[in-house]
Amino acid sequence: MKIYVTGYYTTRFGEIWEQSLSELIDEAITGVLKNAGIDKKQIDAIFFSNMLAGVLGNNLHTPSKIAEIMGVNIPIFRSEAACASGGIAFHLANNYLQAGAAKTVLVVGAEKMTDYSPEETTGALMTAASGEEQAAGLTFPGLYAIIANYYLQKYGYTEENLAYVGVKNHFHGSLNDKAHFRNIITVNQVLKSACIAAPLKVLDSSPISDGAAALVLTSDKKMIGKMKNKVTILSTKTASDAISLSKRKNLDTLLAVKIAAEQAFREAKLARRDINVAELHDCFSIAEILAMEDLGFWKKGEGGARIKELSTQFGSGSPLIVNTSGGLKAAGHPVGATGVKQIGELFLQLCGQAEKRQVKNCRYGLAHNVGGSGGTAVVTILGI
């Protein structure tokens, strides 16, 4: 059965102190129904993704709160897989439609993070890591910093190689009016920014953001016929791996990403070179470099050199442009919303709706969403 994405809306990402989690969700749902031109009565179920409301906000059982906001009585499910919660919600929604349990569903992702101190949020995010890593005083920047240090030493790169990821993604963020950060930055600024966990600095790292994003997915042929903007889900695959870095075979490969990517490309019957736009999970600069390698776009160990060419930057004219939304780095990273926003950005690109950052002649897009330093990975391929 063919499943389509037929609508997308995202709130602005950033420090949105005037809106609560419920208000962000409300804005995203109202927005996506309007953009898709459908009524809430046409929605059969909702897949909601959120990580931290229970830990930080004493706020669980969100599905029933969404029912209250919308005034509906349909099935609503919540997915939690740390920063991959959104990708997993999308994956489950697709399977639900494939199983014939519904015809049209919403995928909604939301997160409220800026009400809390950085220490509280840092601690809450670490609930996604292993007990041993928590007891060692590690943080998520710390986990990725261990990977980064290992990668730089193994392949003979320096912190400067990493810095290009943030430079590129901030340039893209400057073209996205929903992005958390819209300023252009230089390699020098990245290198001079404060160290969070050596070798990663503030400008290697995605921010703590609020935001919500929503998608409409449907298998309803009647509805699809009426839709001007639609993209096909060619494949969405997820895989898992040991959460502790110390329990993994390789430190410079996220195995879950490799497995999910191989399965997704096989099902979509596409080659790596067919992908025109990709939204990758650049929670830290090193993560985008590893993603390019683990997804098979670049060879293992080449990423540090390849990123310096900025070939994946908008306007470079090369066949694959990466993180046109600004990525997690510049668009922001409200964790539950991120995986949904990634699919939404591909939807905009493939439908020619990406305005100032529109990549020409896009046919295929790939989203890569990772939870807990590689414990969960979701790879999704869309096409027109």
């Binding site: 950085p118 220490e119 509280e120 840092t122 601690g123 670490m126 292993s130 007990g131 041993e132 890593e133 007891a135 060692a136 005083g137 590690l138 943080t139 920047p141 710390g142 910093a145 261990i146 990977i147 980064a148 240090n149 290992y150 030493q153 404060a194 160290c195 969070i196 966990a197 050596a198 070798p199 990663l200 502790s244 870095l245 110390s246 329990k247 430190l251």
Partner: protein, 99 residues
Amino acid sequence: MISPVKIWRRQKDIRNRLGQKGTVVAWTTVYVAGNDFKKYAPYPVAIINLANGDKITCQLVDCEQKDLQIGLPVVVTLRKVREESSEDVITYGLKAKPL
């Protein structure tokens, strides 16, 4: 506060690790920490490859910044891991120090 029962439960494996030797596989220095570890920052954390082939993740102690490198030989030792307030049970756990 972490309950004493939880601390005891987590410490079951500690005695087996104490005194084991190994080498640093990868490391970082954490500058921005969560609430429990804020007062100790910055501190180095490493993945250690133990002589028996197991790998563990823990903080490094008695270690100068300049000595931090992949391949550094270390030994596992018992140290205070965290102390939330002066009246809490002090949590002890594994850390590693250079040989």
